[in-house]
Symmetry: C2
Subunit: 450 residues, 2 copies
């Protein structure tokens, strides 16, 4: 790889270092803050591993919990957690969008998102514009969700207005950034039948997880679906397909389960099934007690969590684009077609191999982590696999074994959450640089990230 | 796909029909025979599902058991089972070898295996020669293993010579064809420390599962490794790698497990670990009680069973070649290499996509079957996944739940064993035909299979 005179490559060997350093710094600062006595309700400093685990979970917008958030952390601690989720979410969206633009010339997003169509690199001004747009987009979405939630908490549940605003903003930030932290010990189970709260949270999770390039393209040309890029088409189709699949699977399997959907009325069953189908991509809230899902439903959840959400959004997993493209590749091969065509465009061979590599690496990380956790804990494969994919996919839901994994297990989960979050980003940056060095003349303009 | 004037394509729409019809016929005839009163020790006809399950398990050389073989079936029944394993094993080797030759021009096996290097199709004489070689090879290997086993049963365990020959031949046939049936209710657990029996069985399983094209190439040019084809190199490297990986994994995890390796002396531990590492590819015997392996070891076994053995041998699974090539593809992508080179040869793009398709289909079948079995049985994911992969990979080992799956579960397992056996073959035939129609002038010579 040749280093051009970019700011980035002058300072760092590789953008992967920026990603690791950025998230690592956020984790370090956050751990320091949550280790302060004022961060806990008791006024005593939290144990180091508890603070580290919680902060990693917040920065990586995962949402796995060692301790109950509202019971253990003070308002100061909760605000720190919310800010860490915001920082983590913005970081992922910004970095993801920049990497997407660097490789997406062929996907068609790039031209529409950048002012100048003829340029072949991202200028500093481009990057600034992207960051500004991402921030504005995030804050607007969060504000809208916060207003709805606040109104509902105040009007429907009699919360004082100050408390309602606090709850509204916290859960809006947590939902849009796919953070998964909630201020009730049962996550959102008490709202299982409340469409205002469930649908608001679900929509925030979906929009945050679609990915900024797709959202931006939809805003620009939602009236002209024929001009949508492959990225947008695949993301939307796979998202809708997986949501329908998940909802129907949970309805079919859990309809009469007395500990999940059973007690709800018909509308409530559909709402809860839909909510449970949305959260694996990778919101991380729950309105059902996931410990009581049938093991078959855990397996469905595993698949949804592994796939995750859209590229360059706040979601995790291998991404719906990867999964959708993989399905296209396999389908084309089974039909004996020599080329993989999507719409009227051809998927390049290089992209096919990237898809396969991302799927293989993801599966490899999950299998190895599952093996290690099986060795060091007494839990069954059902629960361990669920926990591992939840951490890898930055999802944050659990069958309830998170607190019981032991010190070694918790350290492993911290590492896995970190890898699950930065792995795809660093891989993305590597592919972005590879693409540039292969496909374009080396740029004279400067590249900066973050 | 254009149909040439071959015998095969005149009679059938597609070779897949030959495969399905052949194995289906064997299952039907076998079920009829095992339903006879003389097939059981009690003299009463076996229930239909018991006969069907046992016959499918034998023809597909799987080895999953609904009933204890020696307790339930008479000598007549046992001979039928042995013959079905022999027919199934020969069928798989013959068909697999023919399909391999049809696609393997680029892999280099073809030229060495056929007399005439310039021909581009298989003549009837070629196919006859292949069948003859496969039969001779099988019988010679089985005879050698039978002699060793017979001697050991007679000399080491005091069996009368007639009984020793019977046991020797039955288990030799079962091992070489990767059938997995044994005439003791505990499989081979009583021989856990006996290297004569364990190593003979293990070697027979490995040789039978390497695949005829590889064995033949090794016999022809074992002194000149540089001339080995990609097929042979990948098969050997992956086989050796997986055997070492499996043995070490079982040694590391189970060394002190009081219900598996724990009670054995050091040499016995290594022998049992090696034997347990060989059987997933896809012999199907066991000398340890697999129900008492740690769940982490079940996961290792799952991986080994999914990969299985060599192409065009008696083994099942997605095959070591598929797995090895997949690893090469991912590795090349991660290193940023535009081409996948193995040795001094380049792996064609088409072959890469076939590898991905086979892996994806295999994983898809396993996941869907696991989901269904989780729904219809009360067992945990650990055990269900193990059972499903064992059936899909025609392995035949179990954590002990086979008999408890219920009627629906048993029907599903029959279907899964059948799919696991004929799926790769029909896929192979489809790819073979596709290759032919893409790469070569359509042949004038006739093609016949079986
Ligand atoms: K999450
Ligand atoms: K077998």
């Amino acid at each position: 790889m040749t280093r051009s005179g970019s700011i980035l490559l002058d300072r760092f060997h590789h953008p992967a270092q920026v990603v690791v350093a950025g998230f690592g710094l956020a984790v370090a600062v956050g751990t320091l803050l949550l280790s302060l006595p004022i961060a806990t309700t008791t006024g005593e400093s939290a144990p180091f591993l508890t603070a580290l685990f919680t902060v990693t979970s917040a920065v990586c917008v995962t949402g796995l919990l060692l301790v109950d958030t509202s019971a253990h952390w003070s308002v100061f601690g909760e605000v720190v957690i919310a800010l860490l989720m915001q920082v983590g979410g913005l970081g992922v969206m910004t970095l993801g969008t920049v990497f997407t633009l660097l490789v997406s010339k062929r996907l068609g997003v790039r031209a529409r998102m950048l002012a100048q169509m003829e340029t072949k690199t991202l200028s500093l001004a481009d990057v600034r514009r992207i960051v500004a747009r991402v921030v504005v987009f995030s804050l607007v979405c969060e504000a809208v969700a916060a207003v709805v939630l606040t109104a509902r908490f105040a009007a429907g549940y009699g919360e004082p207005i100050g408390r309602a605003v606090y709850l509204g903003v916290f859960h809006s930030v947590s939902a849009f950034n796919n953070g998964g932290f909630a201020l009730w010990s049962d996550s959102l189970m008490r709202f299982v039948g409340d469409p205002w709260i469930c649908l608001t949270i679900a929509v925030a999770v979906i929009v945050g997880g679609l990915g900024f390039p797709v959202v931006f393209e939809l805003m620009r040309s939602w009236r002209r679906p024929r001009r949508w890029s492959i990225l947008t088409r695949i993301t939307l189709a796979t998202t809708v397909g997986l949501l329908i699949f998940g909802t129907v699977a949970f309805i079919a399997a859990e309809w009469s389960n007395p500990r999940t959907l059973g007690p709800l009325d018909d509308a409530g069953k559909w709402l809860a099934a839909f909510f449970t189908a949305v959260m694996p991509r990778s919101g991380g809230f729950n309105t059902l007690d996931l410990a009581h899902l049938y093991p078959s439903s855990w397996l469905v959840t595993d698949l949804l969590m592994f796939v995750g959400g859209g590229s360059a959004g706040t979601a995790g997993g291998i991404k719906v684009t990867t999964f959708g493209l993989f399905a296209f590749i396999v389908w084309a091969e089974l039909r004996g077609e020599p080329r993989v065509n999507i719409g009227h465009r051809r998927l390049p061979e290089g992209a096919q191999r990237q898809v396969v590599a991302v799927m293989a690496l993801g599966a490899g990380i999950v299998v190895v982590s599952t093996y290690l956790l099986l060795v060091i804990t007494p839990h069954s494969l059902d629960q361990v696999l669920f926990e591992v994919i939840s951490a890898f996919g930055t999802v944050g839901i659990s069958t309830g074994i998170t607190a019981e994994l032991g010190t070694a297990g918790h350290v492993m989960m911290v590492v896995l959450m970190f890898i699950g979050r930065i792995g795809p980003l660093t891989l993305g940056s590597a592919l972005a640089l590879k693409e540039r060095s292969r496909r374009y003349e080396l740029p004279e303009e400067r590249v900066i990230i973050g």
